[in-house]
């Protein structure tokens, strides 16, 4: 795979900082990236796609530890272990669904409070200061 992107370019593309990109590589989330003759990193399009997927996992709250485990499965058994990878993602999928549900439940309570304040404001408009 042609590896031609500098770390700066990848940072721009992915929204991660160059620090974070090096950090991710250091801790095994990204496999050793190709290097130019001067030792500088050169990322391939496949690297970018991988980083984008990693970012989705992070944004859905997967801890680095688990991402490392997933990365390890992909790297260590590149043409197999589909079952294990799928299971890991399915477990994560479940936690994401739970997160969404919890957010929605809590949102109802917040909406309720907003509504309550609106009503109190209306009363203040009509009658002056009101308690609670």
């Amino acid at each position: 795979m042609a590896a031609e992107l500098t770390i700066q370019q990848v940072a721009q593309e992915t929204g991660l900082s160059v620090h974070t990109l090096r950090y991710y590589e250091r801790c095994g989330l990204i496999a050793a990236v190709e290097r130019a003759t001067n030792g500088h990193r050169r990322y391939s399009v496949a690297d970018i796609r991988w980083i984008e997927f990693l970012t989705r996992l992070r944004l859905t709250g997967m801890p680095i530890r688990q991402m490392q485990q997933y990365a390890m499965l992909v790297r260590q058994y590149p043409e197999t272990a589909y079952d294990e990878r799928r299971q890991l993602l399915e477990a994560h999928r479940q936690t994401v669904l739970e997160q969404i549900q919890q957010l929605q439940e809590n949102l109802v309570a917040i909406d309720w409070k907003i509504q309550h304040y609106s009503e109190l404001e209306a009363k203040v408009q009509t009658y002056g200061t009101v308690k609670s």
Copy 2:
């Protein structure tokens, strides 16, 4: 308001630890709780309701800083400032909606990957090891 619950009981009710309850009080999220003659905290039902609402704010990702601001509005102007409180909550409501949407978008990509793995697994079953 009758204040009769010990910190242990409140921890049980709310799911927070006693450490966290004291921490929340220390940093101004909970107004000074009533004390028994021996100096021990005695929480009222209103305290519990407040803590439950705080917990909803936390679980939806509101930072402590902002919760402090909200708590300050409630405490400092107990019978007014509804507009400001409502605005604060509405701004938060917006970020929660965005969170949910982002989770859902990322979930699609994860589902997609799970599906992909399922298909690869099926191929492995049929033809033996397959690449990608």
